[in-house]
Subunit: 207 residues, 2 copies
């Protein structure tokens, strides 16, 4: 194995990077369930099965850890979102429905626990850490912009002039976050079903 | 002053009840900003300017405190909701818009901090405390039912058969919670504006 091929640099994870990713992923699982303030550095290292001191070799603080966890989650979400929303050969409205249905399936798969890590952090941390808030604002904006693209397609197809793609993307993205939160509180799919039932009617406009 | 008038029992707060309400209100202000895990019993008694020991004269635990705080907030919300949603002489759609606009004004008044205490607790605590989750589920259901009544009126007035009042109430209530969360993360009214921009179009159905 070599780090270089013709013209491309192939990036192999160093041992250090791999160890950091391990602590990040295991710690993230705990923080998803317990929140920021409910998770101690000890909880993170226990979950990763590494000594406490080694945490600080990779993260300057719990806040630095969560900033990395937000970036990691945003990357994962972006990949997943892009796959569904830009799938060739599928009508725009169907791609939008698939996106939320896939989210509902994944929420159901973990019995409506967790919800959305980014939403959880926004709710818990926006007032107490400005760097966490700014980082969340940035990644939520990127995700909303991906939704706006497909919504623009839908509005053009159905010649709907009552809605604005950016505002409807922001509305639906936040409505979905709210529905995930409610599903978590009710431990039932009802909030997600209610979301899906109102999705198509939103785009049906009076002539 | 007397506790009894003709036929009515007027309820005066006892000294004990008044002291408990004082600790509850002051502690709630702190917990609204810092969350459940970010608020210690010491934070609560410091905010109420009472000795730490006196907390346990009124609340068996921090969990018992938050259950009372949820009930108190739900009562306040119900009063406010009822005043707006059942105001005589105002068209149903206008009452619904007034309800959310009044919420937006209040969120703006505190610079988009806090959001909704019930939503915050749902997000932070649903996975870690079953008694908090059940109490939240109950009060969120009551609030959603109040919205469903006015939505039923709107649907009848505009002869919209695409929407179901209960599902649309659940959708809009959760969408609003999500918008408040996003406003908190962005420290801007944009999410609330996006919500308002999509409210009327949702009820405009294709003939």
């Amino acid at each position: 194995l070599t780090n270089k091929t013709t013209g491309h640099i192939i990036h192999f994870m160093s041992k250090r990077e791999s160890k950091k990713a391990h602590i990040l992923c295991r710690g993230l699982e705990v923080m998803k369930r317990q929140g920021y303030n409910g998770t101690s550095v000890k909880d993170i290292v226990d979950a990763a099965e590494v000594p406490k001191g080694s945490f600080y070799n990779y993260f300057a603080s719990k806040e630095a850890f969560v900033l990395d966890a937000i970036a990691y989650t945003a990357d994962e979400n972006a990949r997943w979102t892009q796959n569904i929303l830009q799938k060739p050969g599928v009508p725009a409205m169907k791609r939008l429905e698939n996106y939320f249905q896939s989210g509902a399936k994944s929420a159901c798969g973990c019995e409506y626990e967790v919800g959305c890590f980014l939403g959880n952090m926004a709710q818990e941390m926006s007032d107490s850490s400005e760097s966490i808030r700014c980082s969340l604002e940035k990644v939520l904006k990127t995700q909303t912009a991906m939704l706006a693209e497909v919504i623009e397609e839908i509005l053009q197809e159905c010649k709907n002039v009552d809605l604005n793609a950016d505002l409807t993307a922001e509305f639906l993205f936040n409505a979905w976050e709210g529905a995930l939160m409610r599903a978590k509180a009710s431990k039932s799919p009802h909030a997600l079903d209610a979301f899906m039932a109102n999705l198509a009617p939103l785009f049906q406009h009076a002539a």
